[in-house]
Symmetry: C2
Subunit: 219 residues, 2 copies
């Protein structure tokens, strides 16, 4: 698949717009763990993911993290170019969760395209609305779902993403994802273990009863 | 002030676009307490506030509320027209907090304008980004600030909005605003009282030491 196949509005852009995008986009390969963007001060550009997985998260003053959402193949990351929108007043960090191939579309090019094309501006609008929806969903999870459900959901999702029932995952990492303390995760995992839902070894969590974990989500 | 003075991009719109907006916008006066919009199914249109105050909030399945943000004179409410954006997948409720005069711009008119004008689409983009920023800020408050700070902040803001140190406010209402249980609010208010920061009577909360409340925010 070519660059243009990753841009849903490609066919509706003008030939000069297409040319500018093709010429301006830079292809990069980044290793797992690389922090690609850290907050508004960093005016990196749009990321268009060819293959891989990025994680968007925020960081508290004390260094605690919360994962906002993940980006997968064909997804576009807006917040790495948030510098062009003066109304975005929060800092998002972007990290590669797997080795990732992506294109970077420079912020200036993106800004010009938004200003001249209602189509491009509306496309970006829809992307922002869907990230907004993910964050709203997360906030509702935090506010209104009890923590056992949140942890069960997280483990099941990780297991689906990794394609394995055995997760290489520290309690600290799980706590960062869920915006809570390590102790809270450890306590809940011990409960899950006592219920036969997981097996715990140093540095791994094995899901031994996914049906029971899923049932927890319905409870 | 006229309708057009409330639309920052007015001068840059074409004469036919201006005419359609003028013809299409309906002026309404709503009473304090009126629920103007309840979720995505409700395709009400854009609200442009002439004078008054609206509150945007979400509702859990159990009926608990959390206030997302407030809208004041000259603000534009997008979520009351969220039906035109398929990527908005959460429900926002909008209620008048004071008697409010506003214009309603029908969703179809708004949609057409967004599609034909990059300027309008980018303007809406900035509005969405600023609401997104408010929600991110709120989430960070919830995740990372302790509840004493949140309650102190809420009381100080209410007092500034009402222009009075005496708030007519039940613990239940404060709890809804802060997405917590009444008991949590009551307990913290008793603590504030014991510290000499508030005086409590039935149905009112009087701020007796705003300096000390403000100091709490810095702690």
């Amino acid at each position: 698949m070519e660059f243009q196949d990753y841009i849903p509005i490609w066919e509706k852009l003008t030939p000069p717009q297409r040319q500018r995008l093709k010429d301006g986009a830079a292809r990069r390969t980044v290793q797992k763990g690389t922090v690609l963007h850290s907050g508004n001060a960093d005016c990196t550009g749009l990321f268009l993911i060819q293959q891989g997985r990025l994680r968007a998260y925020t960081l508290s003053e004390e260094g605690r993290e919360i994962t906002l959402y993940r980006l997968f193949d064909r997804d576009i990351c807006l917040f790495s170019a948030s510098c062009i929108m003066r109304s975005i007043q929060f800092d998002v960090m972007i990290q590669a969760e797997t080795d990732t191939q992506l294109w970077i579309i420079p912020s200036g090019l993106y800004k010009d395209l938004m200003e001249e094309s209602a189509l491009a501006a509306n496309f970006v609008n829809e992307i922002m609305a869907s990230r907004f929806s993910e964050v709203m969903w997360l906030m509702e999870q935090i506010m209104w779902k009890s923590f056992d459900k949140r942890l069960a959901k997280f483990l099941l999702e990780e297991s689906a993403l990794e394609g394995s029932a055995t997760l290489k995952l520290t309690h600290e990492t799980a706590a960062n994802h869920l915006g809570t303390a390590r102790e809270v995760v450890t306590r809940m995992l011990r409960y899950f273990k006592s219920e036969g839902m997981v097996r715990l070894t140093r540095g791994t969590i094995e899901l031994t009863d996914t049906e029971k974990l899923e049932a927890l989500l319905e409870a």
